[in-house]
Amino acid sequence: MTSGSFLLFHRGGGLWGIDSGQVVRIGPGPAPGETGAATDGETLRVELAGAAGPVVLAADRVEGVVAGLAVRPLSTALRTFWPETGCGVALYSGRPVILLDPLHLPLPLVASGGPDA
């Protein structure tokens, strides 16, 4: 269920968005030396209340919470050449944003938790 506002954050060179209603909190990144699925460059952690339990996403930088985004569905080409899924794409300040599906979060973005964890 989308609330219309999304938390936008950068990770791995891309700009991502997640329904802000899904976000429990934003916390600090991993301690030095801690290893996890996604730790390089990660400075923040976005904790989500996942349907199957809490999920933590890795983030390099948080853009902010934005509302009023014009969401488009993922194009065929995108789906062809990008294995992950999302709920749509949008533009934010001229920059393309991929809006994540909480149920199908791209594994590279997940720090811990998730339906497969």
Binding site: G13, L78, T80, F81, W82, R95, P96, P106
Partner: protein, 148 residues
């Protein structure tokens, strides 16, 4: 999905094609499929994407997936492009059409390709043609979205 290369969908034998250079290869895109040729757009890479997907750009207020034409056709890298371009093409899908960007090194000209020069192929590369003594590879943008 409608079959490829059906008579209805195959471009006319002497239809106009936009010639673009990528690396040392020249591709031909049917002008009917070309939406616009623009100077190379700023492409934001998408983590986890396949190599052919250069990333996402913005065009006409919409997010545009941009494919690396060179990678797409496997062309060896040529001289550094002075004025790279993005060819925005329409790709027909089941639901209608979507815009795809093709990153190329240079946009050359619009020419008519004669029918006798067709060579059948598969995938989005629908054939090869001769322009002068230059072999050009003819693309079908509609096949881009379906994957190969």
């Amino acid at each position: 999905m409608e079959p490829h290369n059906s008579p209805e969908t195959r471009p006319a034998p002497s239809a106009g094609h936009l010639l673009v250079r990528v690396g040392e290869q020249i591709c031909a895109v049917p002008v009917g499929a070309v939406r616009r040729v623009v100077r190379a757009l700023t492409v934001h890479p998408l983590p986890g994407a396949r190599a052919e997907l250069a990333g996402l750009a913005e065009f006409a207020g919409e997010p545009l997936p941009v494919l690396d034409l060179g990678r797409l056709i496997g062309a060896p890298i040529g001289p550094h492009p002075l004025f790279p371009v993005t060819v925005v093409v329409w790709s027909r899908t089941a639901d209608g059409r979507e815009a795809i960007g093709l990153a190329a090194d240079e946009a050359l000209e619009v020419v008519d390709l004669s029918a006798s020069s067709w060579l059948p192929a598969a995938g989005f590369l629908v054939g090869e043609a001769l322009v002068g003594d230059q072999v050009v590879r003819v693309l079908d943008p509609d096949q881009l979205g379906g994957g190969s």
